[in-house]
């Protein structure tokens, strides 16, 4: 079994003259008989066959001539278009195959890119754990600070309460004392004293008015 790749098939078949006789025959006779050699050979052979009646002309000959002429006319007229159509079919097949191949290559390349990207993504996994640890540390710290603050607040509240209680008590005592003193003073003003104080006020007023007039 041969493992080497096959050489590509030639694009066109061998050169042929009149659709029947390969060019190599003409080249073979060219050195001895020149350009007209093969034609002379052909004519001579034909005349020999006809005259010696080795080939007999009968009805078949007429049939052959008409059929051949029709065939040759058809091929000459429509040959190229048919060939182009067949070539187009082949081209389409090859084009689809090529498209498949290109797509496969592209998808493989994108797949490789994606894999590389995923690997890069995975490297960021350490960030996640750092973030988690940070969260935990922050929580602990927050909790500790809250506790300190709470202690301080409670102690302060109690001290302030004591101070406020004292202040309140003192204030109440003061108010009560003032009221009591006022009441006792008002009670102690006898009518006699009232008359005397009113007379004194009037005298004072008269004295003031005299001095005031002088000022005016």
């Amino acid at each position: 079994q041969c493992l080497a790749p096959l050489p590509p098939l030639p694009e066109k078949g061998g050169e042929v003259r009149y659709g029947l006789i390969p060019e190599e025959f003409f080249q073979f006779l060219y050195p001895k008989t020149g350009v007209t050699g093969p034609y002379m050979l052909g004519t001579g052979l034909l005349l020999y066959l006809l005259s010696k009646e080795i080939y007999v002309i009968n009805h078949e000959t007429v049939a052959a001539v008409s059929i051949l002429s029709v065939i040759i006319y058809g091929v000459k007229k429509y040959g190229s278009t048919v060939a182009a159509f067949a070539d187009k079919l082949n081209e389409e097949k090859v084009a689809t195959a090529l498209a498949v191949k290109n797509e496969a290559i592209k998808s493989l390349e994108t797949a490789i890119e994606e894999e590389k990207k995923e690997q890069w993504r995975v490297e960021g996994c350490s960030y996640l754990f750092d973030a988690k640890r940070n969260n935990v540390a922050m929580l602990l710290e927050t909790n500790y600070r809250e506790r300190l603050l709470r202690v301080y607040n409670e102690v302060k509240k109690r001290l302030d309460y004591q101070v406020a209680m004292q202040n309140l008590k003192r204030q109440k005592e003061q108010d009560h004392m003032i009221q009591w003193v006022e009441k006792s003073v008002v009670q102690s003003i006898t009518p006699q004293q009232q008359k005397e104080s009113i007379a004194k006020c009037i005298l004072d007023l008269k004295a003031l008015s005299k001095s005031a007039q002088a000022a005016v």
Partner: protein, 161 residues
């Protein structure tokens, strides 16, 4: 004290966000918001509570000894630190994650090697015009007809025609 002030490492959220695949973005956003709330709470609290003005209270409160008692007890008080239960778990998780990521990266590299190989065969393929059917089966193994499984023509299930 050991354990206090576990250092809060600066995290590059932008770089982190880049590496998050789109299907995990919701989880990432949740984590970020939680982190942000925590750091906001932390920043709002003062590091130490303000000192209590003992002299003022000693002068103000009439009851003898009360302020002194409070002061003694207060300075003797030790606020217990909250115990850290989670860091060990997180470390364990991290180890596991490191292992699984290493495996994933291995598998990924193997896949990449496979893809590279196939890419090479495709690139070194002979052009379709010069191929025979055998050459085609070499380059695209999926086109090969399984003559053992389906011995009769068309050598593949009729539905696949």
């Amino acid at each position: 004290m050991a354990g206090r002030r576990a250092a809060v490492k600066a995290i590059d959220w932008a770089a982190f966000a880049e590496r998050v695949p789109p299907n995990q973005r919701a989880m990432f956003n949740a984590l970020k918001t939680r982190s942000d709330t925590l750091s906001a709470r932390l920043a709002a609290l003062p590091e130490k509570p303000p000192a209590i003005d003992w002299a003022h209270y000693k002068a103000a409160v009439a009851k003898a000894g009360m302020v002194d008692e409070f002061q003694k007890k207060f300075s003797a008080l030790k606020v217990p630190e909250p115990v850290d239960t989670q860091t060990a778990k997180i470390d364990a998780q991290e180890k596991e994650a490191a292992k699984s990521t290493a495996e994933y990266v291995q598998a990924s590299k193997a896949r990449i090697a496979q893809y590279e190989q196939r890419l090479q065969t495709l690139r070194n393929m002979i052009p379709f015009e010069q191929m025979t059917f055998e050459d085609l089966h070499e380059a695209f193994p999926e086109t090969k007809l399984d003559k053992e499984k389906y011995p009769y023509w068309p050598h593949k299930p009729i539905a696949d025609l």
